[in-house]
């Protein structure tokens, strides 16, 4: 069970208050009709599954009902940071020397 910092409640909370919400920073194409099926499929279905740092969304379901982002190590389960929706991560794989 993880301990997760909610950037909106501004404190650590137990994992059971949260729901995972998948990979972060996926942007919906602005003109869906203008792109190919392949590009659309990429947006719809293709997700990263890294061994190491992963940027993912969580929902503080039992708390403030806000979605936010987390940078989590998928091997050690360490959470390096959580940050509000719309912000960029400060810890990224390249900085950690991982791919």
């Amino acid at each position: 069970m993880l301990l997760i910092h909610c950037p909106y409640c501004e404190e650590m909370r137990e994992e059971e208050e949260f729901s995972p919400a998948g990979q972060a920073h996926i942007v919906r194409p602005l003109q869906p009709e203008e792109i190919s099926d392949e590009q659309w499929a990429h947006y719809l279905f293709f997700r990263k599954n890294p061994r190491g740092l992963h940027h993912e969304m969580w929902l503080h379901a039992a708390g403030c009902r806000k979605y936010f982002n987390a940078t989590r190590n998928t091997v050690t389960y360490e959470i390096m940071e959580t940050y509000k929706m719309g912000l960029k991560p400060s810890v990224t794989a390249s900085e950690e020397g991982q791919s």
């Binding site: 301990l3 979605y67 091997v75």
Partner: protein, 1007 residues
């Protein structure tokens, strides 16, 4: 006869004033308060306590702690209170305790399977299970029957557990696991900084190794220091002490799972009390002070009852005043175990010899033994044990450890007890739980905790620090350092360390497996893992067969499996593997220890979340009325919804027919409060609806309602419902009962991540409203009796909503219909729900208003071809598949969610499964829901399946049975026959038709 091995000692750990009677395998024995079942059995001279797992050999008690592989019992006197597999060494004795061996069949002293050669033995080499799987399955089945019966892993209770369990959450600065000298010192030092401290220990009292030690602290018996320290800790408000509490798991982000056994030591089933409590501790810092387990040596027939760990023998003598034999042979690789010979000697029993594998030693303890006149044989090992149900003697021979050989003839000694010590293994299990790899420490010939991502410290025996004075000072230091890491104190222990003088010890020998004059494969069985009957020869065989990774050896031989989790045998097994492969131990590595550290009852893990608390049940404000009126209930998500309202003597089908006909012919009433309701406010609310629904919302006027379908981005339907326009910037969206929470999260997801610029807020108001739907030709007549507005068709049209007063209560009435009849959905604030419901019932009495449940609702809507998301759809169905293209906006500016995916190749296929109606050829036959559909009746199996039935009922209104189904290309196949091969072997025929069976023009809802 009674307690033959109990000596007139002076231990304060047992209370001789309180004699307890207990039974083991049907015989009655006596022990004292403070005894474990194991110490009491040894006091009574009971040698054989079980039969081994595979070979069915008689087994005795080997250890005094959580390592015990043999004395694993079935405890409890009834089918409700019986517990499989507690260790006798960890079970406190109580008056009337009933225990039996788990793995003796038919009993431990005379084992039928043992005499005929239990299925196993030579027939069951390592890898038996794997090899057997290669044989035809029929053969495996016949083996399995016997193996299961003989293997004896305990019996589950056959009746419901009468005990109560619960869980508690805690937070602390420093959590200390282990209440021995290191843990107690760490707790004291951490607590003195003001840190919030929790210390737990699996034993019945704190003290750990000091409970059986004779080494003085500050010139006094060690128990004095323990008492004083525990008293100090108890006086501090910031300290929580948890004895009888096993840390079973160490989880991510410093979460520690503890099972506190609160009443197990008092007897079976205590009323009004929690038997076991799981504590979930979230700690800023964790100190592991789990100490070390003594390691046995591996030698021939080392499982004969009477073969024990040296330290266990000392524990029984010093803590329980029990000497488990008369004539001792001690085999050791180190000075430390000489204590056992001294204890045995001082207890007045004979030490036959000390067999030391080293060439010599001049440590303090060795010299003390020399002075006592005890015979020490250096450079030798016990290579074989004689006896079957009790040790009768040993063969001792000179050995050469470096080339693993016996270098001379063996000499026989008569004895009844063999104590062995191969040194100590730090208890690294918990530190391994989160994936930390242990590191081999050559100095102590053992693994210690490796790098970890946890906020974790370790001290004392776990770090390979064994001298008592160093253990205590290590505890003090670690406690202060951990507290500082948690933000408390200066990182130094300010108090004074107690004085204790450690005996000088000579170097020990890293030896695990005693050679025999024969090759290992031919030598008498040398057990490594007693619980799983893994021998040195078995491990070598696994290595020869190509299993070189220690994880593979584990799975092939079962080394370290089961409840044992590699406590007694793992290091020896790894050492034997390493030697057999010509590698070092660190090269071979360890297997990973997993939770639970020791078995934990299911009751403890379930806690209070059982029976009516297993899953929350949600109720509407009218639930009491439904109960009083005989409703049967259906689970819809967590809601309990009325399913149907049987009248006395009615079958379910009769109730449904009555409810359907009453609604179609007069008026029915449904509790629809469980539908999700979301209050949507803001100037961009309309635009937001346009983006998440498939149909357009720009022109929906105030006072109007509209049905909408919601898709996921892949184009598949995931919810539907009616949304009403309260005013230009405000809408109430209704969702399916099961989809309510998911839809709100879905809206929030899009708003928070993609379109934060849209000015709109969503709030759930599901629980605020009680909703009752009155439906049927007389619905208006009922409503107008209790309502203050004009509800005529001219002023209150189909798909309008009106604010009104109903039965004196403010209400919103939606004129929408899920039955196809004239319907009004009355919404009132839920605190008035029961009042309004009763008023409607009273007003409807003259029309025989009939309450109906979810089943009648399902029938009535299916007659109209209205879908239920999740029943008629399954996440792979588009609106087009449902023949609902009318709900798709063609001119919407924004590319709403799901739209783009409909033009994907796969979603444009003509042969997609499409929603249709089915009329069975036999009008009385109700097709089973889920039945598969084929086009050709006569096909070989596997048939080509082209769809399935999603909803199917008998319609009392129409007088025939009907179904909704999805069929490949079904929309263009109306009029065709299809076939449904059923599970009973018959095949029925049905005709594809329109899914709208009743009132296809929709006249009835518009009256």
């Amino acid at each position: 006869m009674s307690q033959v091995n109990r000596i007139a000692g002076s231990s304060k750990r047992i209370n001789r004033n309180r004699t307890l009677t207990f039974s083991f395998n049907g015989k009655e024995y006596k022990g004292f308060e403070g005894d474990t079942v194991a110490s009491a059995l040894l006091a009574n001279g009971v040698d054989v306590v079980g039969r081994s797992f595979k070979y069915s050999r008689p087994r005795g008690i080997i250890t005094s702690d959580s390592q015990e592989p043999n004395a694993i019992f079935q405890i409890g006197s009834t089918q409700a209170t019986t517990i499989p597999n507690p260790r006798a060494t960890q079970t406190d004795l109580y008056q009337g305790l009933t225990a039996s061996s788990t793995n003796g069949w038919p009993n431990v002293d005379f084992d039928l399977m043992g005499t005929v050669g239990k299925l196993g033995g030579s027939m069951m080499p390592p890898g038996f299970y794997y090899k057997t799987f290669m044989f035809p399955q029929s053969l495996w089945m016949s083996y399995e029957h016997l193996i299961r019966k003989g293997a004896g892993l305990g019996a589950s209770p056959q009746q419901s557990d009468p005990d109560s369990y619960d869980k508690m959450h805690h937070h602390c600065d420093v959590m200390i696991v282990g209440g021995g000298p290191a843990g107690l010192a760490a707790a004291l030092s951490a607590a003195q900084t003001g840190a919030r401290v929790i210390i737990s220990d699996e034993q019945n009292e704190f003290g750990g190794s000091l409970l059986c030690s004779t080494q003085q602290i500050d010139g006094q018996h060690p128990s004095q220091w323990v008492e004083k320290t525990v008293a100090q800790l108890s006086d501090m408000d910031n300290v929580m002490l948890l004895p009888r509490s096993t840390v079973f798991g160490y989880y991510d982000h410093n979460l520690v799972g503890i099972n506190e056994r609160r009443t197990d030591h008092l007897g079976e089933h205590q009323l009004q009390s929690t038997r076991q409590r799981v504590h979930k501790v979230r700690a800023k810092q964790v100190i592991l002070a789990t100490g070390a387990h003594e390691r046995p040596l591996v030698y021939g027939n080392n499982d004969v009852p009477g073969c024990m760990l040296a330290n266990a023998v000392s524990t029984y003598i010093n803590r329980y005043d029990v000497v488990p034999g008369n004539q001792l042979v001690l085999m050791t690789t180190n000075d430390n175990a000489y204590k056992t010979a001294i204890d045995w000697h001082q207890a007045g029993r004979k030490v036959v010899a000390i067999v030391d594998t080293r060439s010599t030693s001049n440590g303090d303890l060795v010299n003390k033994v020399r002075k006592l006149g005890i015979d020490i044989i250096f450079g030798h090992g016990v290579i074989d044990v004689k006896g079957s149900k009790r040790v009768k003697g040993v063969d001792v021979a000179p050995i050469n450890a470096s080339n693993h050989s016996v270098t001379g003839p063996a000499k026989h000694f008569v004895c009844d007890t063999v104590a062995s010590s191969g040194g100590w293994s730090p208890v690294i299990h918990l530190s391994s739980h989160t994936g930390s790899r242990p590191v081999w420490n050559e100095d102590i010939a053992g693994f210690v905790p490796g790098d970890t991502v946890q906020q974790q410290h370790s001290c004392g025996g776990l770090e390979g620090v064994y001298a008592l004075s160093k253990v205590i000072s290590d505890g003090f230091t670690t406690g202060a350092v951990a507290a500082q890491a948690a933000g408390k104190g200066e990182g130094r222990y300010a108090g004074k360390s107690p004085k204790t003088s450690d005996p000088q010890e000579d170097a020990s020998m890293a030896l695990f497996h005693i050679p025999h004059s024969k090759k290992t494969s031919r030598a008498p069985k040398q057990f490594v893992d007693y619980q799983n009957d893994v021998t040195a020869a078995g491990i070598e065989l696994a290595n020869r067969e190509g299993f070189e990774s220690i994880e593979h050896v584990k799975r092939y031989t079962a080394l370290g499996f089961g409840t044992d989790q590699g406590k007694l045998g793992n290091i020896n097994g790894m050492a034997i593997t390493a030697k057999s492969l010509g590698k070092t131990i660190p090269e071979t590595g360890t297997t990973i220890f997993r939770p639970m550290y020791t078995p934990t009852t299911f009751g403890a893990l379930a806690g209070a979340d059982v029976k009516h608390l297993f899953d929350p049940a949600r109720f509407s404000a009218m639930h009491k009325w439904h109960l009083d009126n005989g409703a049967e209930f259906e689970d819809v998500g967590q809601w309990k919804r009325p399913w149907y309202f049987p009248q006395p003597g009615e079958t379910m089908q009769q109730s449904l027919e009555r409810e359907c006909l009453a609604t179609r012919n007069s008026v029915g009433i449904l509790d629809a409060s469980t539908l999700g309701k979301i209050d949507i406010q803001g100037k961009d609310a309309r635009e937001f609806l346009n983006r998440v629904y498939t149909n357009p919302w720009s022109k929906l006027g105030v006072g109007k309602c509209r049905y909408g379908v919601m898709c996921k981005e892949d184009g598949m339907v995931f919810d539907d419902g009616v949304t009403v326009c309260l005013d230009d910037n405000r809408f109430i969206m209704t969702t399916t009962t099961g989809g309510a929470a998911g839809v709100l999260q879905w809206l929030e997801l899009w708003h928070q991540t993609e379109w934060p610029e849209l000015e709109v807020y969503f709030s759930t108001v599901t629980d605020h409203w009680s909703t009752m739907t009155i439906s049927g030709p007389n619905a208006r007549k009922v409503l107008e009796k209790i309502c203050d507005i004009d509800v005529s068709n001219d002023s209150f049209k189909y798909m309008d909503w009106r604010a009104a007063t109903v039965a004196g209560v403010k209400a919103r009435i939606f004129r929408i219909s899920f039955t196809g009849e004239l319907s009004f959905e009355i919404n009132v604030q839920a605190n008035y729900g029961m009042h309004a419901w009763k008023a409607v019932m009273a007003a409807g009495e003259e029309f025989n208003i009939t309450p109906y449940g979810t089943e009648t609702m399902h029938i009535l809507r299916a007659e109209k071809g209205f879908i239920i998301v999740g029943q008629d759809t399954d996440g792979s169905v588009t609106p087009q598949d449902l023949d609902m293209d009318w709900v798709v906006g063609k001119k919407k500016e924004f590319s709403f969610i799901g739209k783009r995916s409909w033009t994907r190749f796969d979603n444009k296929r003509d042969d997609r499964k499409q929603m249709v109606g089915l009329k069975p050829k036999d009008p009385k036959f109700v097709l089973p829901e889920g039945a598969q559909i084929v086009f050709e009746k006569n096909q070989s199996i596997p048939m080509k399946m082209v769809g399935h039935v999603t909803s199917s009922y008998y319609s009392a209104c129409m007088g025939y049975s009907f179904a909704l189904a999805v069929v490949k290309g079904g929309i263009s196949r109306k009029g065709d026959s299809v076939f449904l091969p059923l599970s009973d072997g018959t095949t029925v025929e049905a005709e594809i038709c329109s899914p709208v069976f009743y009132d296809p023009k929709g006249d009835r809802q518009n009256v």
